[in-house]
């Protein structure tokens, strides 16, 4: 029989420490964590950014990632979007009784890999085990602290001097999860874009690119980010529809189910508002990481607080913030 997580593993006793040393310490170990104090004591030299997020995804493993990779990328990316280098992470696991040990280990192992990419440490953690049926398998919370490497990045400062870019083709995570969750039998190379963005951000900062704003296009997709920006900065964002990079696989899923790629979630794709003069330079750097990065639009004052999509045959429409659950159209 395969080993599974027992309710007793959350009781703070022996089974609990077996889980901690057998799985978590094994992969997360570092000097701060192994001190096993009530709280981690940290050295922070500069201004810091801090962010928290809880992760739940079904299925837990999907093409291109799993909940663990997602939990590290998600929080580290939020820090990176503020120009911060992810440094210290706390992790909370809420596990359903009976969860497969080996799957848990697999998840933790991919978290370690992602921590290495960000050069970040898990400095504190927590485990709870919930009775079977009270939660859906596994929930992970991560909180992160990052050291600000570039100050002044803000979604409230976007102006007509800025160009709007995306870091790669959009919608891959949303399309992957939707097809995996609904059991749509597609044979495709579709993979979640789940990835750490700090290395890309670091390259932009080091090159001295003037970054006005960055935001990773998670739930609500690129449409949500651009709408938030238009409102926060009281501007109109005009996007050329043809310039938005979409892979054939994502395009196909959208065609089949009646979705818009701009409304699909991403987990390793971000939007950037970059000063016009630096837009080309930023694009060249982004394209070193992903060839599909693109300048997609500009900022104007035509329809303030709205996002306008322009077609290549001269028509325009508003791109709205997605609402409600993502449901396929009927006909």
């Amino acid at each position: 029989m395969r080993k599974s997580v027992a309710l007793a593993a959350g009781n703070g006793g022996e089974e609990n420490s077996e889980l901690i040393s057998g799985v978590f310490y094994k992969y997360f170990k570092n000097d701060i964590l192994l001190k096993s104090e009530d709280a981690a004591v940290l050295e922070v030299g500069s201004k810091v950014a801090m962010s928290t997020d809880s992760f739940t995804v079904s299925p837990l493993f999907f093409p291109g990632g799993n909940i663990g990779k997602l939990a590290i990328c998600g929080t580290c990316n939020d820090l990176a979007m503020m120009g911060a280098k992810p440094k210290y992470i706390t992790v909370g696991f809420i596990i359903e009784e009976g969860f497969d040990y080996r799957e848990l280990e697999k998840i933790v192992r991919s978290m370690k890999k992602e921590l290495e990419i960000n050069d970040a440490l898990v400095v504190s953690g927590d485990t709870k085990v919930m009775p079977k049926g009270t939660i859906d398998k596994l929930i992970i919370n991560t909180t992160g602290i990052g050291e600000i490497e570039k100050e002044g990045i803000s979604s409230n400062n976007i102006s007509e001097d800025d160009a709007i870019l995306v870091s790669r083709d959009i919608g891959a995570h949303g399309a992957t999860i939707f097809t995996a969750r609904e059991g749509i039998e597609l044979s495709s190379e579709l993979q979640s874009d789940c990835a750490s963005l700090y290395p890309t951000v670091k390259a932009l900062i080091e090159a001295g690119v003037e970054i006005t704003a960055m935001r990773d296009a998670t739930r609500g997709g690129v449409a949500a980010v651009l709408n938030e920006w238009a409102k926060q900065s009281d501007v109109c964002i005009e996007v050329a529809e043809d310039a938005i990079p979409v892979s054939p696989e994502v395009f196909g899923v959208c065609e089949m189910l009646g979705f818009e790629p701009t409304m699909l979630a991403n987990e390793g794709t971000f939007c950037l508002a970059i000063k016009q003069k630096d837009a080309q330079k930023a694009l060249e750097i982004l394209q070193k990481f992903n060839n599909n990065a693109q300048i997609i639009g500009k900022v104007s004052d035509e329809h303030k607080q709205r996002v306008v999509l322009q077609s290549s045959y001269g028509t325009k429409r508003f791109l709205d913030t997605p609402t409600g659950e993502l449901l396929p159209r009927i006909c």
């Binding site: 077609s311 028509t315 325009k316 159209r329 006909c331």
Partner: protein, 380 residues
Amino acid sequence: MSLELRNLYDDFRDPQTIKAYAKLIEEEAKKLDRSINIMEVCGGHTHTIMKYGLPQLMPKNVKFIHGPGCPVCIMPKHRIDHAYTLAMQKDVILVTLGDMIKVPGSKGSLQDARSKGADVRFVYSPMECVKIANENPDKRVVFFAIGFETTTPMSATLIDVVQKQGIKNILFHINHVTVPEVMEELINSRDEHIDSYNNQINAFLGPSHVSVIAGAKIYEKFPKEYNRPVVVSGFEPVDVMEGVLMVLRQFNENRCENEIQYKRVVSYEGNLNAQRIIKHYFEKASLFKWRGLGNVPNSGWRLKSEYSELDAEKVFEDVLPIEEIEDHKLCICGDILRGMAHPTECTIFGTACKPNNPVGSCMVSSEGACAAYYKYGNLL
């Protein structure tokens, strides 16, 4: 070279072709001495028209009127209440298609039912009900069947499978409706006292996936009896543009015909096998109440009485609410569907009535006229 999905429709979205059609339409419209209102009946057409901003390419004297062809939008509240009630029954799994689950009835939507613990699922193909029924032998699967001619044969085929395989735990709640009857209703609706209150429809873009099943023949009476040209058009922007051009040419050439633009899939006779299986299991109900339009004679299907043991409306007769529910007083969906008002003329458009909390039928799905306007905006 492998064939990509894009290869199938790239040409039908080609900017140069769309521009060329816009020019031809403009030239044709100049020759007209009147304005033409074209109703695209189908929600799929409305979606394309709004998504690609086609009204912005139309000359001043050519306008679209968005029709009632969204199967989710036209579902009356009391039938959604049926779905809700069925979903809340013990040991029932309610299965339906796509965005049906977010439409509110008077008790809430199926999404609300689900959050209260009901087992509500949506499927892409009704055939998935067989798998669900097999996996849950101690539960009853109720398929809440919706849609026009396009989806009706899929429900009929599922009934056929249930019959032939002797599956005991699938029931049906049938809400299939037909297009020509509601088109007639729209044309016939008139007010004896106020002329401006009569329908403003001059021509139709005919729903075409409907015609893949039922054939283009179902629209024959509109040019002949009602003097309204019909062009059965495809769903890509180039298709719609060509469809509009064909309509205008009929007016300029003094023709009034039932034409097919979408020749790559639509035939005059349609899919005869599909038509046969529909007629085998279904019969016309004398009335079907459409949200926003009221009762439309002969516009709905129901299960024939010999299959009443499969009919959820019969099996659950005791628990299903009977009384019909009137449309909201401030909602002008009926007028919008008849082409007499524009979404933005409605006092509750975008305020009390929004996509995440729709009052009337037109705001419900992205194919509804109001939702399309809300989402894509009319930038003109």
